[in-house]
């Protein structure tokens, strides 16, 4: 059985493909291969690092916004100052006077200060709207009037930023909003233990404000919620109904073909054009109110409609024909077969598509600017017709403001928005995994 044994190791004849020239050429070809592969890796690295840079910048800028520097002051609530008419009714209080009380408390901390300019500098330590916080406290407990109470009040934006490092205290004096004297006063407050960094509850309980230390997201969040309710109420039923018709009932003719082409193209129309539609039709023609969640929801509903229709059709298409045939074979009408058997099976797919569409709508900004949802709203909207803002628009508004404090607020608001989106997309992925079915 010699032929079974290893064949003789003859030296391989040098052929066209194994010669020196071929080997050399091969080297160059492999170098090209490695370069090409490297380009691919570089592209991926570029894309990923952009996400990393984006997120780390936001985290770096934004996390500090969740904390606020507060200063402890002993404020004497002088009844004569806040209630000049002496009615005892909180509704009649002079709201402006609370800030005066705060200022008075500050002067007491620094008795050596007398000059008008110096006094102004002292006031610069505390937020110019700290009185609002004081007023809210007294609203809750009017019995404090006439007493001297120790309260923690928000520091001014300048101080806040210096404490958090947003502004470098070693900058030349003229380049920072807080001068040397103010720094010295603040340091002495800190030594007395009258300064703390507290969780910024205002950020979650207040609405927009011109003062970063008083601005919060509540109004925009409620606005987003109301708007999304309308969007969902519009786009889900209409989208599913349209998908059911096109997938299950529509005859193949010119009309349905137009609808299909139209839906595909509508999905790619720039969102700002939907804003113009909302402006021209809902506001100007139907006379609906500007800035209202109702109009915003309508516009976004039309915007996400194609997405939901396309996703729902895909989900319906994935249900095997055998299910329909089984139902029809039992004597069900076509509509019954669809409603009782096909639609329930397609529901997880439809929900996944809907959530993804809604996540898209939550981040949409441009069309809402067109219908005036960039209103300056200092309290949460209480109806679908009230003036309102939404999270992404709030981000846009804050991004435009010059104060340093708004930079961190913008970043923090983005973090909140992204958290929302990740939650929604996570829910969609979870749904898809949970109900994934292989026919």
């Amino acid at each position: 059985m010699t032929e079974i044994a290893e064949p003789m190791q003859t030296a391989a004849p040098v052929s066209l493909h194994t010669g020196n020239a071929a080997t050399k050429r091969l080297k160059a070809r492999y170098a090209a291969e490695r370069r090409f592969r490297l380009y691919g890796i570089l592209a991926i690295v570029f894309a990923c690092s952009m996400l990393v840079i984006l997120l780390s910048t936001l985290l770096k800028e934004g996390t500090s916004a969740f904390f606020q520097t507060e200063v402890k002051l002993a404020v004497t609530i002088d009844a004569g100052t806040i209630d000049p008419q002496g009615t005892g009714n909180p509704a009649e209080w002079d709201r402006g006077a609370f800030q005066t009380l705060v200022s008075d408390a500050l002067y007491k901390e620094f008795p050596e200060v007398t000059g008008r300019l110096e006094k102004r500098d002292v006031r610069g330590l505390i937020s110019p709207v700290a009185g609002v916080r004081l007023g809210q406290m007294l609203d809750k407990d009017p019995s404090l009037v006439g007493q001297t109470i120790e309260v923690w009040l928000p520091a001014s934006d300048g101080i806040n930023q210096i404490v958090k490092g947003g502004i470098d205290r070693d900058l030349p004096e003229l380049q920072r909003p807080i001068n040397d004297q103010q720094l010295a006063w603040f340091d002495s407050l800190e030594q007395r233990g009258d300064v703390r960094s507290a969780f910024n509850t205002t950020f979650f309980t207040a609405s927009d404000s011109n003062y970063p230390e008083l601005a919060g997201l509540l109004g925009a969040a409620v606005g987003t919620l109301l708007t999304m309710l309308v969007t969902l109420a519009i786009s889900l039923p209409i989208g599913v109904a349209a998908a059911v018709y096109l997938e299950e009932f529509a005859p193949k003719n010119r009309f349905t073909e137009i609808i299909e082409v139209n839906i595909n193209n509508l999905a790619a129309v720039p969102s700002i054009v939907f804003g113009l539609l909302g402006l021209a039709v809902f506001l100007n023609f139907f006379g609906m109110p500007r800035s209202a969640p109702l109009v915003g929801g309508l516009v976004l509903g039309l915007l996400v409609l194609p997405t939901i229709i396309i996703a729902s059709r895909a989900a319906l298409k994935a249900v095997p024909p055998s299910i329909r045939e089984a139902a029809l074979g039992m004597g069900a009408s076509k509509l019954q077969a669809v409603m009782h058997h096909v639609l329930p099976l397609a529901m997880p797919g439809i929900m996944t598509g809907t959530i993804i569409g809604m996540a898209h709508a939550v981040g949409e900004t441009a069309p809402l600017l067109m219908i005036g949802m960039n209103a300056f709203v200092t309290s949460a909207p209480d109806s679908l017709l009230a003036s309102s803002s939404v999270l992404p628009v709030q981000i846009f508004i804050w991004a435009d403001k010059p104060e340093r404090g708004f930079v961190e607020l913008t970043s923090a608001a983005i973090l909140v928005l992204l958290a929302f989106l990740i939650l929604m997309n996570g829910a969609a992925i979870w749904l898809r995994k949970k109900f994934e079915r292989r026919w």
């Binding site: 991926i44 894309a47 018709y245 054009v273 113009l276 229709i309 991004a399 970043s411 928005l417």
Partner: protein, 487 residues
């Protein structure tokens, strides 16, 4: 009687209709359900639908028209004297002078802007918010405000009455039709199918709405500014003067600088997104081990899901300063609103879009072509560059066109990172403005409704819509043809 309450009562009537219909069906069947054509639920549904739907349509129609009709009624009831008293306080002297000769015609003499101002005054007063109304005009418009409140109350009650009558009428009619022979299920299914058809036409109606609204306002704009000037004019400064005698009152509406600005930024974006998106798609589908693919794909999906306003903030916070500093380092002055910064960030936004489209396209190339190439001794990159890419070319072109369309229509990034100044330049380091930036900046803030400035927005919107539509139609066609080839 508020609309909400009317809707609630209607809902109740509809439910009652369901109950009535079902019971009626059972009754006429004499207790033997088998005698009926359909199950009793269908009789109930039939009545409920008939009770609810027509009245609901009535409510929607009324809500849509209520504002316009009432405004018209209130204004036409105002006397010339009241109008004049209001105008004397609220209007500028020149405007007042223009108005006075025709004031005897009543409210129709007012310009649209003034009419809106007047209506806002009346509305505020009627809502009890006299605070927002100039005290000097309160006397003049108090009767109109009263008229408005009265009309509102009346209108709501009228609606309620009409809805009740309609729903009651349909209930009675359908009730009388129910009998054992009545094909309730077929009737219900016909109604439901009609509703389904209606829903699927909403998408078409949206397109029609977009086209009509853009077209109408654009035509109004083109009566003020010639089309040729708009499309070919080289200067864009839409600031119209408040008073007719001011210098440069007409404004300039040559949109070419906006088009070049848009194209410049879109080009920069594509220079970033096309190679990065394409190469990452190639790497992911042809090279990456499964684990890497599982890790990178979600990252790209996150990039795709980041709202554009966040990218805009990223541009002004990080990228624009970085590019400016980089320029300063090399001694090149770069505007902090450079087209480069906006374009690069927009490119990053489009990368996942390009890569996911390209991924689909590359995967559609049959494996047999790759095998053929490997079988001849080609390396992977040779196969990709010389066989897969040429085969996928139409699909890739389609994907790129879709990406360009995306870049042209993108708003927030350019609104935040690009400039407002319309300059005719192709220098990526300079500040340019785009179509979408102008639309946003003109519309946000105070608007006068029939000025050329405001109307120009719709002409810009029309151009934007037509261009992106054309790109999409072509791209989708190419991609579809491509798919068919390999299916």
């Amino acid at each position: 009687m508020s609309v909400t309450l009317t809707v609630a009562v209607l809902l109740f009537l509809s439910l009652a209709g369901f109950w009535l219909g079902r019971n009626r069906a059972v009754a006429v069947a004499g207790g033997r359900i088998a005698n009926l054509h359909s199950v009793p639920t269908y009789y109930g549904t039939y009545m409920a639908l008939w009770a609810g739907l027509p009245a609901l349509v009535l409510i929607l129609a009324w809500m849509a028209l209520r504002g316009t009709v009432m405004d018209w009624m209130v204004l036409s009831a105002m006397s010339p004297e009241q109008l004049e008293a209001w105008a004397r306080v609220m209007l500028a002297p020149a405007e007042l002078e223009a108005l006075l000769p025709t004031i005897a015609d009543g409210a129709s003499a007012l310009t649209q802007t003034h009419r809106q101002l007047l209506l806002i005054n009346i509305g505020n007063l009627a809502a009890g918010q006299a605070l927002y109304v100039n005290p000097g005009v309160i006397d003049a418009i108090t009767p109109a405000a009263g008229h408005l409140s009265q009309l509102r109350g009346l209108a709501d009650w009228t609606l309620f009455g009409a809805v009740m009558a309609l729903a009651g009428g349909t209930l009675a009619f359908t009730w009388s039709k129910i009998g054992p022979e009545f094909r309730a299920r077929n009737n219900v299914e016909r109604i439901v199918t009609a509703l389904l058809v209606l829903c699927s036409t909403i998408a078409v109606l949206t397109t029609v709405g977009i086209v009509l609204s853009l077209l109408f306002e654009s035509i109004r704009f083109f009566t003020k500014v010639p089309v040729t000037e708009f499309l070919f004019g080289l200067q864009w400064s839409p600031q119209t003067a408040i008073r007719a005698d001011q210098v440069g009152s007409s404004g300039a509406f040559g949109a070419v600088p906006l088009f070049t600005g848009t194209l410049l930024i879109a080009t920069i974006a594509m220079i970033v997104a096309a190679p990065v998106g394409l190469m990452s798609a190639i790497y992911l589908s042809e090279y990456a081990p499964k684990r890497v693919r599982g890790l990178v794909k979600p990252i790209l999906e996150i990039l795709a899901g980041v709202p554009t306003v966040v990218y805009g903030f990223f541009a002004i916070l990080t990228v624009a300063p970085f590019i400016r500093d980089l320029g300063a380092f090399f001694g090149i002055p770069i505007s902090s609103q450079s087209a480069l910064a906006a374009g690069v960030v927009m490119g990053v936004m489009i990368v996942p879009f390009v890569s996911s489209l390209a991924d689909d396209v590359i995967n559609a190339v049959p494996q047999s072509l790759r095998d053929g190439s490997y079988g001849l001794g080609a390396t992977k990159s040779e196969t990709i560059r010389q066989v897969v890419m040429p085969a996928a070319l139409p699909g890739i072109v389609g994907a790129m066109l879709l990406a360009v369309s995306r870049a042209i229509g993108e708003t927030m990034i350019v609104v935040m990172a690009a400039g407002l100044q319309a300059s005719l330049t192709l220098n990526p380091l300079a500040s340019v403005t785009t179509v979408t930036v102008q639309i946003k900046s003109i519309l946000v803030g105070d608007q006068e409704f029939d000025s050329a400035k405001t109307l120009s927005v719709f002409a810009l919107g029309l151009v934007l819509f037509l261009v992106t539509l054309a790109l999409n139609v072509i791209a989708l066609r190419i991609v579809q043809k491509y798919r068919e080839k390999y299916d």
